[in-house]
Symmetry: C2
Subunit: 242 residues, 2 copies
């Protein structure tokens, strides 16, 4: 049976890390909120599943994944669950723990990227927190982003199986997540990323190699890949990019 | 061999969620940075392990746990690893995934609590971001905190094994984490929590029951339990609590 992914239909957001893994693996899945309402899809279906009063394992927020009777949420936790099933995780428990740990660092970085435009309140508009966003982003680009990117570069440099992958000698969802990080950061902060990329050559090489994987490339060229936009996590506000 | 926990010695912080699980389980562990330098402890030992150039699985930040040759970081990931070993996790894989998923929601909430006093830059002092902290915290206490607490209350209410535990019918690290959340929130925001607690009776009952567990109670009464203070995650700034 196909996996069912529940996520907001108009943005890449946190759901995209799951979509990329499913697409690269060629795994059958249904992007529920993007399916027609007549076929049980749409945002109404997402909200109904999110608020199901009978769910014993309710998600706190999208994305969440339904696999038969199981419902799993938190993007890093979804990938931890999916990875071994779709061939995008190491075969040993220690390797799986390491992959998940790296994905949790991605989660932390993504939250900080989100906060560049929403430093005060997730429920308010960007326009309601612009001065704070500018102050936050200046610190983020100067201090935090180089720290995260340097960390990931160091993981590639130290991989005893070579620097072609984040974990061991094989592709994993951590690699597809690195691709997405680079893509998103290039979209949101083209000037800052142009500078930062010079310091992380292994990460950029990994990004480029992931982009050429046939199934992933086909996905990126398809209408299933949503464009980045100013409702998602990676937003391009030129005034923030310096 | 005893587990080695690496975390900042002067605060509860994110490390406390791990300490509470180890203490409740009566598991042998060494709190490395709090041990004397003469015994290989202290902050120097923590930093040396954090920056070990030969580590293939480097932590991004404390806390991290050393178990023999394995080094595991990210507090939720440490608990996921430790739980089954110390009898504080369900025996089945689905239950373990659910416990971890809940701990990741705790992680999200803890980050937001941190940001009540550091909304702009983690590297700056609170005094450098006070107006933003006030604005952030007003929204946090009005909108975000009730959402998180209500979610956890709902998880207890829906547990088909009864509302005595967050996961299934047995104690887990999610329960000790709920205890710590309530403790920390009471310390940081006594006025706001006095109001909020009325809405989450199951959670408060769980907190009270966890506090009475013999090993945990002994820990809380010991000098190993650090006091909350204004260097940690839960900070009491009266001007923020309304």
């Amino acid at each position: 049976m196909a996996f069912e992914l529940f996520y907001w239909p108009g943005i890449q957001g946190r759901g995209e890390f799951v979509r990329l893994a499913l697409e690269d693996a060629g795994a059958p899945y249904r992007d529920v909120a993007r399916a027609p309402a007549a076929q049980g899809g749409g945002v109404a279906a997402l909200l109904q599943a999110l608020r199901d009063p009978n769910a014993e394992h309710p998600p706190y927020a999208p994305p969440f994944l339904r696999d038969g009777s199981q419902v799993i949420s938190q993007s890093a936790n979804i990938l931890r669950y999916l990875g071994p099933k779709i061939g995008l995780a190491p075969s040993d428990e220690a390797g799986r723990g390491w992959a998940h740990q790296l994905q949790l660092v991605v989660t932390d970085l993504i939250k900080e990227v989100h906060d560049t435009h929403h430093p005060i309140a997730v429920n308010w508009y960007y326009d309601e927190q612009k001065p704070e966003a500018l102050r936050y982003t200046q610190h983020f680009l100067a201090q935090r982003l180089p720290g995260y990117l340097g960390y990931f570069e160091g993981v590639l440099a130290r991989n005893s199986h070579g620097s072609s992958h984040m974990v061991g000698s094989l592709i994993s969802y951590v690699d597809t997540s690195m691709f997405q990080l680079v893509e998103g950061l290039r979209y949101a902060f083209p000037k800052a990323m142009a500078r930062a990329e010079k310091t992380v050559p292994l990460l950029i090489t990994l990004h480029d190699r992931v982009a050429q994987r046939p199934k992933l490339a086909a996905y990126l060229a398809s209408s299933r890949r949503l464009a980045f936009n100013e409702n998602g996590i990676f937003r391009h506000y030129p005034e923030l990019d310096a």
